[in-house]
């Protein structure tokens, strides 16, 4: 039991932080958001640091790092409020492609590691809420390959991606119709992509597929999809910790400098207790972010329970910290000009990424065991 980072992990953290400090001031983020949220160029810069290939095996041009390194990077990107589809492109998509045929991996992973290709998961559908097994998009064998028909929603950086990993229902016979995973390339026949900005200064897209040709990744993909989403949960939890860490620091600074009634507002006990409660939520979140990343290697049932628990904690913490830090800033906290409001909006979007608090509370609740605790 050890929660220290290695020297290499600290160096990685420093490297990302240096890039953030130098290349990603708030003005740049603000500019990107105002211009519609296109972030592909930012993602390319992260690739220059090697970060796009962080989780991709060395044999395919990546760094082959594990969950703790991913957590460190995500925390720092969160701290800088870097809007790039990092968790989706560099963590979730490689996790999904790990089960793809060798040739598919060889064709995509090296390009992904260099950010020449951005591949994202397109799994959300209308009416599915956050349930991964609810898949209405259909796959059909045609000739040597497959075609997909259906629609996917809120696909991250959807109109900037080069390919999508699409879960679809494969009708093998009357009783067996597994969730299969396919890779669909941008520009494929029958694929329509409608992009739009999101609340957190990035972009997403609606996809419609009409007999769109697709490459099979795996026939029985439900377990893999769950695992990849858990990787995504750990990633956004770590990002959220970075976002909150910075937001709390900004709030503390504001409380110590803003004067009312002739004294810094940090002297008022109502506000002091509020910031103590904020600190509590931040540290509970950090603790559960560690837990999320360190539990990714567990067997599926334990892993899913742990990641759901983490997302419940993070969801509660993000909402409390976000709302209270805006409140503690007073009027300036609700302006577009002030960075704090953007941190708040990012936290809000993270809650709704890969399942919100109530969804995951339901997961924890349905799978309660008799025992509880970190090692249960």
């Amino acid at each position: 039991m050890d929660f220290d980072f290695t020297d290499d992990q600290e160096s990685l953290r420093d490297a990302v932080r240096r890039w953030v400090d130098k290349a990603f001031p708030f003005e740049r983020r603000h500019g990107i958001a105002k211009a519609g949220g296109a972030t592909r160029a930012v993602y390319g810069e992260l690739a220059e640091l090697g970060l796009a290939g962080l989780a991709i095996p060395e044999a395919n041009g990546g760094l082959g790092f594990g969950p703790v390194e991913a957590m460190v990077v995500c925390e720092e990107l969160g701290r800088g409020l870097v809007n790039a589809p990092y968790v989706h492109g560099a963590l979730v998509a490689p996790a999904l492609l790990a089960a793809a045929p060798e040739a598919v991996q060889a064709a995509w992973l090296p390009r992904m590691a260099a950010a020449e290709a951005l591949v994202v998961l397109a799994h959300q559908e209308r009416g599915a809420r956050y349930f991964l097994h609810h898949v209405a998009t259909e796959a059909e064998a045609r000739g040597d390959g497959y075609v997909l028909s259906g629609a996917k929603s809120i696909v991250p950086a959807g109109d900037e991606a080069d390919a999508f990993i699409v879960p679809a229902r494969l009708q093998l016979d009357d009783s067996h119709h597994p969730t299969a995973l396919f890779l669909v390339e941008r520009g494929a026949p029958g694929l329509a992509v409608r992009g739009y900005p999101t609340q957190d200064g990035a972009r997403a897209a609606e996809l419609t597929l009409q007999a769109t040709p697709a490459t099979l990744i795996t026939v029985d993909g439900a377990g893999l999809l769950e695992r990849a989403v858990d990787v995504g949960i750990a990633g956004v939890c770590a990002e959220a910790v970075g976002v909150m860490d910075r937001l709390v620091a900004m709030t503390v600074e504001y409380m110590n400098t803003r004067k009312q009634f002739g004294v810094p507002i940090a002297s008022f006990q109502a506000l002091r207790h509020r910031i103590a409660d904020v600190k509590m939520q931040l540290e509970l979140a950090r603790s559960m972010s560690y837990y999320a990343s360190l539990k990714l290697g567990e067997p599926p049932e334990k892993r899913r329970h742990a990641l759901a628990q983490a997302k419940v904690q993070l969801g509660q913490s993000m909402r409390f910290v976000g709302q209270q830090c805006v409140q503690l800033h007073g009027g300036i906290g609700v302006t577009d000009e002030y960075a704090g409001s953007h941190y708040f909006k990012r936290l809000t979007v993270i809650e709704m990424t890969f399942g919100d608090t109530l969804h995951h509370l339901g997961e924890v609740s349905r799978h309660l065991h008799d025992t509880a605790g970190v090692f249960a």
């Binding site: 929660f3 110590n256 002297s267 002091r272 910031i275 419940v312 904690q313 605790g373 970190v374």
Partner: protein, 393 residues
């Protein structure tokens, strides 16, 4: 980063688990697992069993006869004891006064007092709070006047937990009135059999005489019972408060009680009710998050590589969780939490229970646990301390 305990730590845990299983009396663990009334004898029997093994002072270094365990080993010991249903060792001797005597007491005091604490023979009590001095402890008025080789103590302490059993009491007393209130306080060890000491129980809202008022009327205390220097007692008291912070979160007991909550919820038919069950799930997440926070503190203590500013959060969160599980257990019992049959909280009671036997103590425990956010520095005072750390002002 690694969530797993090392093989050595796991072997240590297994050793503790086996020893506790073989040595914890079943009648005592039965009471703990069912929240039945514990007697002085129950508590002292367990303390002496630990003492005989050399583990009553489980946090003590080897030079004072302790096992010399590190922070993680201490935690594992506490966890195994809690999960097995061991009663919480009254902390006043081994956890509170002993470290102060070790750090600031004279060699004579160490020789005189530590063996009785380590063996569980001598019952210690705490004399800190006074009727007029709660959160503002430094305003305390209980006076100790030096006369020759004696102190004459006059005044009153209150909220002295289990003081009715106490043989010795460590007190903060006023020896000076100059300067800041903190500077005139001394740390005095007082034999409770001394003439002029009177103990009067206070019945709490659950009907139990758990705490006491302690009166001092011209009590003569040998000057050799002063710990450290006169007027430096506040420093020692702060040392004591800082000493055991992961212990006070008591996450191990929370895990055991969550299991009990699930058993009660199943028996009372609310475990399958999604609205109730979600509340259990939320509490379970709270407990895992608290445990992770405790483990982070332990890891930092063990390696010495990180300085964490989160230990102050543990008391706040731990006490909130303790209140929450007692609340949910009571709500699980529903209307059967309402009867107040005091005898039904005795082990082996043969009378007619109203509803299931497990319902009998639930409301009383809920009422009793309101203390947890008040004692040991109220949670509001704790928030002041956290805010001071966060804001740096």
């Amino acid at each position: 980063m690694d969530l797993q305990f090392t093989p050595e730590e796991q072997a240590f845990r297994a050793e503790i688990r086996q020893w506790v299983a073989e040595n914890l009396p079943r009648d005592i663990s039965h009471k703990v697992h069912n929240a039945l009334r514990l007697t002085r004898d129950d508590l002292q029997r367990w303390a002496k069993i630990l003492g005989k093994k050399g583990w009553l002072g489980w946090g003590w270094p080897k030079q004072f006869g302790g096992p010399g365990w590190n922070a993680v080993q201490k935690h594992l010991f506490e966890e195994e004891c809690a999960l097995a249903g061991a009663p919480r060792v009254p902390p006043f001797g081994p956890i509170m006064v002993a470290p102060v005597i070790m750090a600031f007491g004279s060699p004579e005091q160490q020789k005189r007092f530590l063996p009785g604490i380590a063996s569980g023979e001598v019952w210690w009590s705490q004399g800190y709070s006074e009727p007029g001095s709660g959160s503002d402890l430094a305003s305390l008025k209980c006076r100790a006047e030096r006369r020759g080789d004696k102190y004459i103590v006059n005044g009153q302490k209150t909220w002295t937990t289990l003081g009715q059993y106490g043989e010795w009491i460590f007190c903060l007393v006023r020896t000076g009135t100059e300067g800041k209130p903190q500077t005139g306080i001394s740390f005095l060890l007082i034999d409770m059999k001394s003439p002029g000491v009177a103990v009067k129980p206070i019945r709490l809202l659950d009907g139990e005489p758990e705490v006491n008022e302690v009166f001092f009327d011209n009590v003569e205390v040998p000057a050799e019972n002063l710990v450290g220097e006169e007027n430096k007692g506040w420093t020692y008291a702060k040392y004591l408060l800082a000493h055991e912070r992961t212990n006070i979160a008591d996450v191990n007991r929370a895990k055991r009680e969550l299991e009990r909550l699930k058993r009660i919820a199943k028996a009372e038919g609310v475990y399958e009710d999604a609205r109730f069950r979600d509340q259990i799930a939320l509490l379970e997440v709270d407990i895992v998050a608290l445990e992770m926070m405790v483990l982070r503190v332990l890891s930092a203590e063990k390696s010495g590589k990180q300085s964490l500013d989160i230990a102050g959060l543990l008391k706040i969160r731990g006490s909130e969780i303790q209140q929450r599980y007692t609340e949910l257990m009571m709500l699980a019992a529903g209307p059967f939490a309402v009867p107040f049959v005091s005898e039904a909280m005795e082990a082996g009671w043969q009378g007619d229970y109203v509803g299931a036997a497990h319902c009998a103590p639930l409301a009383s425990t809920y009422f009793n646990y309101r203390k947890t956010t008040i004692y040991g520095g109220s949670n509001e005072v704790q928030r002041n301390i956290v805010a001071q750390t966060v804001l740096g002002s």
